[in-house]
Every structure is written in structure tokens, then in C-alpha cells.
Symmetry: C2
Subunit: 202 residues, 2 copies
């Protein structure tokens, strides 16, 4: 299994470099458990999904707390057949057979039910893609069903689902979508956008 | 068939609202052929892939010409089984049987070979997802093979492919990836990021 994300942070301010550089210290507690590579478009973080999502959340919250309109985008992936297996990415959820979908929905709901808040309002949207399987929409619809009960569901949009709420349960909800839906060792990706301090709240 | 994109424009400047509002006039020539809906995270544009890509390109170029660091992100989709068929989205490429992959690679190369430039340097990265089929990596690898010969290939990254060059052939190349790979009536999505004027060119 190989898992990680290509992440980009967009602070809508003349001082975008300063906001990004200051926010990067939020990654420090995770650096030993991640492989990190940066270029001019995105930063790759490779590690277990729980660490990848915690790092993204803390980076986003650190930038958003400046009060500037900030957006984080992430292309998240696990199990891509083109990527090498990496012991750094192994987690129990990503092994064994695919459990019944009702069981996985219940596990996902339990996991997001008691998340401490980050004190940062956010809006997010994401698309979940389960690849290399027939009937991929069964997994998508199962996931949407979980999202509707997650406490941060906002609405269904074309091509994606929109969430709204504190950044901690929002990232936790997307994490659960990522690890609980699609086969444990299957190829699953997420296209995620999280926004804070937008002047056009709708 | 239903096709379109959720697009977001991120100008890294205090005047991000002004840059976005001014760039929006670049959509005017396409408005009659698109359905457009905006919220605080993205703007949905629904139409045929050629019009959707032309509109994204012109919007991005209009913003990038300000000289500010600007990024456009798009979640692009066609043939999602959860979306209604829409006559507004019908194009000949999205009908009929799946042609041999070598034939499609040649068609894609011919289409990007004579694109007039936009005069706007750009860097981009994207992931192509062909859903609901086994052997989805055959389509991905076929597409990567096309990309390497597209004239704007930069390098393969984890989870995505990076392009670099004038914005017009860059958008044209991603358009070809979108319409030529995966079954004509299949569910295909792209997670696209295009950037201009980054201070950290790598």
C-alpha cells in the first residue's frame, strides 16, 4: 500500500508567501512520519492516512487563523497500482476483506462523532473515486449516506459533496470517507478543497 | 451524457475579488453554451468538453495576464452515472465503441499539434480517473504515453502528471486526455491544477 497527498495552500493575500511559510511549522509534529517533497505546484506528503489528514488539517487551520481567505487543495490517493508498496503507509484499516457497507458506515460515524473542534469554521467539497472496480457507485452512494449523517454535511453538488463546519470534524469526515469506502487494498482517490474566510459565504 | 467542471480561481493578492471579477468577462463568449452556477467554493460549468475547456483556459489566461500568482483548480467529469443525460453536453467523441488505444493516442497528438498559443506561460498537474472499469490503469498508461509526446510534458509525479508550457496547448492536452481515454460513454474525471506567475518556479 502507498498513500499520501499532493497538497497546495492558496492564501488570497499579497503576503501569500509569508502565510504559507508560517503555516508550515504546523507540519513539524508529523515530519518524522511523512515523506515530504515540494515543487512550484504542490507538496507531496506520503504516510498513513491518519497522519496525512492530521497534517493537512493543522496546516490549513494555521493558515486560516491569519483571518485571510485561504484555500487548501489536496489530491489524495491510496493503493494506486502504479505506486510502490511502502511500509511507511501501512494501517490496519487497509488490510483484510471488504466489510459490509452498513458496518463501515457505522464505523465512520463513530469515528467522527467525538472529534475535538479546532475552532476554525470551514467549507469544503470533495469527490471520492473508487477505481478498478465495477459497481463503483455503490461505494460512492454508501459514502454519501454516511456524509449525510456526519454532522458536517452541507449539500450534494454536481460532481462532489459539500461540507460545512469546524475544520476538525470536516477533515475527520473526509478521512473516514477515504479509508472506509472502496476495497481496503483498492485504488481510492479524493479531490478535496477546503476554504476559510471567504467573503462570499453562500 | 453529462459533462462539466467545478472550477475555482485563486489569485494570490489582496485584490483577489477584483482579479476574479475582471477575469469573468472571459466567459462571456461561452455563456450561451454553458450552464453556470456559483457558490463560495467553486463555479459549476456544464456543457460540451470543448466549450468547458475553452472557457477554463480563457478564464485562467485573463487572470494570469494580471501578472499576479494565480491558480485555477477544476474537478472535471463526464458520464457520471449519478448525473442526468443532458443534450447540451453531447459531442461525437462521446459516442460509439472504444477505439484501439494507439488510434486514440494518434488522434490526441494530432489535435494538440497545431494549437495557437495564448502567450501565457503556465505549469499544470492533473490526474485522470476512468471509473467503473477493470484494467483502468491501461487507459491511464495509454494517456501518459500520449502526454509524454504532447510537447508540454514536464514529468511524472506521485498521483499525477505535470505539464509545463503555454496555457493554450496545456489546456488542449488535458482536454484530449479527458475525451480520448476511458470509454466514450464511461465515467471519467480529472483533478486539474494550473498555475501562473509562481515565485517558486522549479
Amino acid at each position: 500500500m502507498f498513500s499520501g497527498a499532493q497538497i497546495s495552500l492558496y492564501p488570497m493575500t499579497d503576503d501569500f508567501v509569508g502565510v504559507i511559510v508560517n503555516a508550515l511549522s504546523a507540519l513539524d509534529p508529523y515530519r518524522e512520519r511523512l515523506r515530504i517533497e515540494t515543487d512550484d505546484i504542490s507538496t507531496l506528503i506520503v504516510g498513513t492516512p491518519d497522519i496525512v489528514f492530521a497534517a493537512m488539517r493543522d496546516l490549513f487551520v494555521a493558515a486560516a487563523k491569519t483571518g485571510k481567505h485561504c484555500v487548501l487543495h489536496a489530491t489524495i490517493s491510496r493503493g494506486c497500482p502504479g505506486e510502490p508498496d511502502d511500509p511507511m503507509c501501512h494501517v490496519p484499516e487497509m488490510t483484510g476483506p471488504l466489510a459490509p457497507i452498513e458496518e463501515r458506515k457505522a464505523q465512520a460515524l463513530a469515528a467522527v462523532g467525538s472529534i475535538p473542534v479546532a475552532g476554525q469554521p470551514s467549507a469544503a467539497q470533495f469527490s471520492l473515486y473508487t477505481l478498478g472496480i465495477d459497481q463503483h457507485m455503490d461505494e460512492i452512494y454508501g459514502c454519501i449516506d454516511f456524509l449525510k449523517n456526519s454532522g458536517v454535511f452541507d449539500r450534494s453538488k454536481n460532481f462532489c459533496t459539500k461540507l460545512r463546519g469546524d475544520a476538525a470534524p470536516v477533515f475527520a469526515t473526509v478521512h473516514e470517507a477515504f479509508v472506509r469506502f472502496g476495497p481496503p487494498q483498492g485504488h481510492v482517490t479524493i479531490d478535496l478543497t477546503v476554504s476559510a474566510n471567504s467573503p462570499s459565504k453562500i
